[in-house]
């Protein structure tokens, strides 16, 4: 039986190939100044917005558009405390926000701001009962609506779920996007690393005050080291001549490296009570003296998960739909990664238009 050359020695390169690779390398190197220019000029944030409300360090952004408002219920987007919220409006064609804005939703985004050492004592009650509640009240007051729609992403989704359970009278629709609520699965990597036997969160907060941005970024990168530290740069090299790729790449890198610390007490409570003790899904989590009972969520719920999410695997989010009291609840497990759910081409082409349809049916 004959064996083809690549099967025999697939790693071998012929002189022709070597010459071709060398020429390709030279072409790419010639493109480096162009890549640097793209890196300098690339901007994040696709949709114009105004800060309409400020409280301590947080800002409430309202997206400005010429599109006629077609839905009476406004939408509030709540992002995690880790990283910045513009990932949901990264670039034209990669913006979750623009889908809603272009479909006539009055859309708001909550920018939590960057905590400093003085914010180390801000806790879950501050973030949910004080900040998030004030923002929701502000949106309700501005739009003269009793109830608003809330879209929470990642940790922001968990916080939105907690808020909706504590204030069901203010939430008309709840959309969760890769939001962890059930940490009973201890096999995924982050659960192993944050296990109480390994990770002393009390000590960390006592010593550092806030959760350091570098620690968080390093941990997230280490979850998929080959992909984030090696493969990514191979892909970058291969696409060095593709300007569109470079723009997307640098926009993404800008966001990935724009890390912020998390307020110490909030981080400690989230890790300890949610990730380690898994109190939320059991209905034992207390915020401001009140039990967070997910069964009190009776509004329509759309739970979006990503099949290849290494940060928040679907198992952490899927139990939410069974825990709520809503009868109108839907889950979508979309083939994407954690970030791909927001910025992926396929998600922007297929998922978000259907999410807009779902929300439009429930927003008047």
């Amino acid at each position: 039986m004959s064996v083809t050359f690549p099967q025999f020695m697939p790693w071998m390169t012929t002189p022709e190939q070597m010459q071709e690779q060398w020429m390709g390398f030279a072409r790419k190197m010639a493109h480096l100044p162009k890549a640097l220019e793209v890196a300098r000029r690339v901007r994040v944030g696709a949709t114009p917005s105004d800060a309409v409300f400020r409280m301590d360090k947080l800002r409430l952004l309202r997206y400005v558009t010429d599109v006629e408002q077609l839905h009476s219920t406004p939408l509030l987007v709540v992002f995690a405390l880790v990283n910045r919220p513009y990932i949901l409006d990264l670039r034209p064609g990669k913006s979750v926000v623009s889908h809603f804005v272009n479909r006539g939703f009055d859309t708001y985004n909550l920018d939590w701001g960057v905590p400093t050492d003085g914010d180390r004592f801000l806790n879950m009650e501050d973030y949910i009962e004080r900040y998030l509640d004030a923002v929701v009240d502000q949106v309700r007051s501005r739009t003269d609506c009793d109830k608003i729609s809330v879209l929470g992403y990642c940790m922001g989704g968990s916080m939105s779920a907690m808020y909706a359970a504590l204030h069901p009278e203010k939430v008309k629709n709840l959309i969760l996007m890769a939001a962890p609520v059930d940490w009973s699965n201890r096999e995924y990597l982050l659960a192993k690393w944050t296990d109480a036997s390994v990770f002393d969160v009390d000590k960390l907060m006592q010593v550092y005050g806030n959760a350091p941005a570098e620690l968080l970024q390093g941990s997230f990168q280490l979850l998929k080291p080959v992909s984030t530290m090696v493969e990514k740069y191979f892909t970058f090299y291969e696409n060095l001549e593709d300007e569109k790729f470079l723009e997307d790449f640098f926009a993404m890198e800008t966001w990935l490296n724009d890390n912020i610390p998390v307020a110490g007490e909030m981080f400690r409570q989230f890790v300890k009570y949610c990730m380690q003790q898994n109190l939320l899904i059991q209905g034992k989590l207390r915020i401001g003296g009140r039990i967070v009972d997910l069964r009190k969520i009776v509004c329509p719920v759309l739970n979006l998960t990503a099949t290849q999410d290494h940060l928040v695997p679907p198992e952490l989010s899927l139990p939410f739909n069974d825990a709520v009291g809503s009868t109108d609840r839907k889950g979508v497990n979309f083939p994407a990664g954690h970030i791909g759910l927001a910025v992926g081409t396929k998600a922007n082409r297929e998922l978000w238009p259907s999410v807009c349809d779902w929300l439009a049916e429930r927003s008047n």
């Binding site: 004959s2 064996v3 390169t13 012929t14």
Partner: protein
């Protein structure tokens, strides 16, 4: 797929390439070969991807192993112990110079936060009493009299 034939090998203009391709053809004992571009696009990329996948799989196994978790715990513990000693040293150094340290600002923050809690609690109680008075004056229920809560913060 194009064949790795001597005809193809001879078709290359570069004598060294011709020699090399011919040699490899004989070494592999096969009359088939891909073109350079196919080689580049398929086998090389597949090989590389397979290597990365295997590497990633290996890393994942290692990162969840007891050995790694043990190292993680020990390195975290020693990093925290070092940082704590550094904090204590800095606090002592600053105090020796009659300067405030982070622990002092933390203490002030704790006092401010408890003061804020007490003031807010007091305002809530006063607010409830005002609502009750308003409702008794207008004959409406306290909830209706209070209306929507006034948002905190600064509207712009």
């Amino acid at each position: 797929m194009d064949s790795f034939s001597s005809k193809d090998a001879n078709a290359t203009s570069d004598p060294f390439s011709r020699f090399w391709v011919d040699l490899m053809s004989k070494m592999s004992g096969t009359p088939f070969a891909p073109t350079a571009s196919q080689m580049q696009d398929d086998a090389m990329k597949r090989t590389r991807q397979a290597f990365f996948d295997a590497w990633a799989h290996h890393c994942d196994e290692f990162l969840r192993s007891d050995a790694f978790l043990d190292v993680l715990k020990k390195s975290m513990d020693s990093a925290l112990a070092f940082k704590q000693e550094l904090n204590e040293f800095m606090t002592k150094a600053l105090h020796d110079q009659q300067l405030p340290a982070r622990s002092d600002t933390d203490s002030i923050l704790v006092v401010l936060r408890s003061m804020e809690d007490r003031v807010l609690e007091r305002i809530d109680r006063l607010s409830s009493r005002v609502d009750a008075l308003e409702s008794s004056a207008s004959g409406a229920s306290p909830d209706a009299a209070s209306g929507k809560r006034r948002p905190k913060g600064v509207a712009q």
